[in-house]
C-alpha cells in the first residue's frame, strides 16, 4: 500500500493475529470525548445503546490513565487521583487483556485515541495503531471536506481501513510462500477459520482465491492454537 511516497510506514505492518480477522471493535475518540469512529466486526453482546457505550469506553480509558499514573512505582511526582493530567505526565498504558478480549490503546499527544478490541491472544498492536493513526491523518485530516471534531464519514478512510484489516491474510500467505520457497522442508500451516471469509465486502475475490490456492496443506496441527 503506497500512499506515503516511500516513507517507512509502507508496507503496512501485518496485524499479528493468530487467525483471520479477529477484531471485534474499533473506536476513535478525540480529546473532547467525541466518538469520531466506531466499527464493529464481531460483537455478539450489546448491553448499552451506542452513545452510552461510547461514553463508557471513553470514561474507562480516562480513569485507567489516571490510575496507571497513580500506581506508577517509578514516578517521583504523585499527582492526586482524579486531577486531570498534563500531556507528558504519567505513564502511558497501551493494552489490557482479559480472558475473553484484549483492548489495545493508543493516544496521540493531540488527544486522538484509537482503541482496538480483539481476540485475547493478539500480539502487540502498537505498530498497527500507529499505522491507523497515519491513515487517519492521510484520509481524514487531509480531506478538505472533513471538519475536525466531527464524526468521520469518509468513504476513502473506511475502505482503506477495511483493506488493511483484511490484507494481513495476504501478508501471512506471502510469508508462508517465501518460507516454503526457501526451506521446502519447513512445515507451514495456515489456519483459516470461517470468521475470516469476507462476507459482504467488495474486494473479496482476489483474497479468497489467494487463500485457497497458496495454502500448503500439511498434516493437521497438534493444537488448535498453533500459528506460523
Amino acid at each position: 500500500m503506497q500512499f506515503f511516497g516511500g516513507s517507512e510506514i509502507s508496507p503496512s505492518p501485518p496485524l499479528p493475529t493468530a487467525s483471520g480477522n479477529n477484531g471485534h471493535m474499533m473506536y476513535v475518540f478525540n480529546r473532547n470525548g467525541i466518538c469520531l469512529l466506531y466499527r464493529e466486526w464481531n460483537r455478539p453482546l450489546h448491553t448499552l445503546n451506542a452513545q452510552q457505550d461510547h461514553k463508557l469506553m471513553f470514561g474507562l480509558l480516562f480513569s485507567l490513565k489516571s490510575l496507571t499514573a497513580k500506581m506508577d512505582p517509578t514516578s517521583v511526582d504523585k499527582g492526586n487521583l482524579g486531577v486531570p493530567q498534563l500531556p507528558g505526565q504519567g505513564c502511558s498504558f497501551h493494552s489490557f487483556r482479559t480472558n475473553t478480549y484484549k483492548l489495545s490503546f493508543m493516544e496521540s499527544p493531540s488527544g486522538i485515541k484509537i482503541i482496538l478490541v480483539t481476540h485475547p491472544r493478539t500480539g502487540d498492536l502498537r505498530e498497527s495503531l500507529k499505522y491507523i493513526y497515519n491513515l487517519y491523518v492521510e484520509y481524514v485530516v487531509k480531506n478538505p471536506l472533513y471538519t475536525p471534531g466531527t464524526p468521520i464519514r469518509c468513504e476513502l478512510f473506511d475502505s482503506t481501513l477495511d483493506q488493511y484489516f483484511r490484507s494481513h491474510l495476504i501478508h501471512m500467505v506471502e510469508l508462508a510462500k517465501l518460507m516454503v520457497a526457501h526451506h521446502p522442508s519447513f512445515p507451514v500451516t495456515i489456519l483459516i477459520t470461517t470468521a475470516t471469509k469476507p462476507d459482504n465486502s467488495t474486494a473479496t475475490d482476489n483474497q479468497s482465491r489467494l487463500i485457497h490456492h497458496s495454502c500448503h496443506h500439511l498434516p493437521p496441527p497438534p493444537s488448535p492454537d498453533s500459528t506460523l
Binding site: 506515503f4 511516497g5 516511500g6 516513507s7 517507512e8 480529546r31 473532547n32 470525548g33 452510552q52 461514553k55 471513553f58 470514561g59 480516562f62 486531570p84 493530567q85 498534563l86 500531556p87 507528558g88 505526565q89 502511558s92 496521540s108 499527544p109 493531540s110 488527544g111 486522538i112 502487540d124 502498537r126 505498530e127 500507529k130 493513526y133 497515519n134 487517519y136 491523518v137 485530516v141 487531509k142 475536525p148
Partner: protein, 186 residues
Amino acid sequence: MAPVAPRSGDAIFASVERVNSELFTLTYGAIVRQLLTDLEEVDEVNKQLDQMGYNIGVRLVDEFLAKSNVSRCVDFKETTEVIAKVGFKMFLGVTASVTNWDADGTSCSLILEDNPLVDFVELPDTCQGLYYCNIISGVIRGALEMVSMKTEVSWIRDMLRGDDVFELHVKLLKQVPEEYPYKDDE
C-alpha cells in the same frame, strides 16, 4: 516492543511529498493580495491570516505527530525545540532556532533566518502594519493548543520590515489538561 525513536526533521522532509516552493510562495502572495482587496483594513487582514493559520495548525499537528513519532513533550522547552527543529523542517524545509528563554521557562523566541513564504516578496508602502507571515503565528498557536498548551504568539522582528531575521515571541499562558468531558453521569 519499545517505542520508536523520533525521526529527524531532515529524514521526514525527505520522505514527504514535496512541491516547488514557488507555487507555495506565489499562492500565499496571491491570497494576501486578495485579502487586502476584499477586507481593505490591514488589521483585518492580520486577524484573518492568524485565524487561517490557527485552523491550519489544528489539522497540521496530527500530521506532524504521526510522521515524526514524537512522544509526549514533557515541558514547554522541549516542545518549542521540537517545533523549531522538526516542525519547521518537515513542512517548510527550513529550521528555526530557539533563544531568549525567560527565567521560568514560559516564554522564548523562535528565530527564522530563511523563510520560503517571503521569497522575492517586497512590501509596498501602502501596507504599513501588515504582518505578512502572520499565518505562521496562527499555525503555531493552533498546533500548540491541540497539545494542551495555550499560547500567545507575536512578531518581534520581521525581515519584510527591514530586520535581519524573523523573530516570533511564543509565550505559554497555561497548560490545559484534559478534563472529563461528559457533564452528566448517566
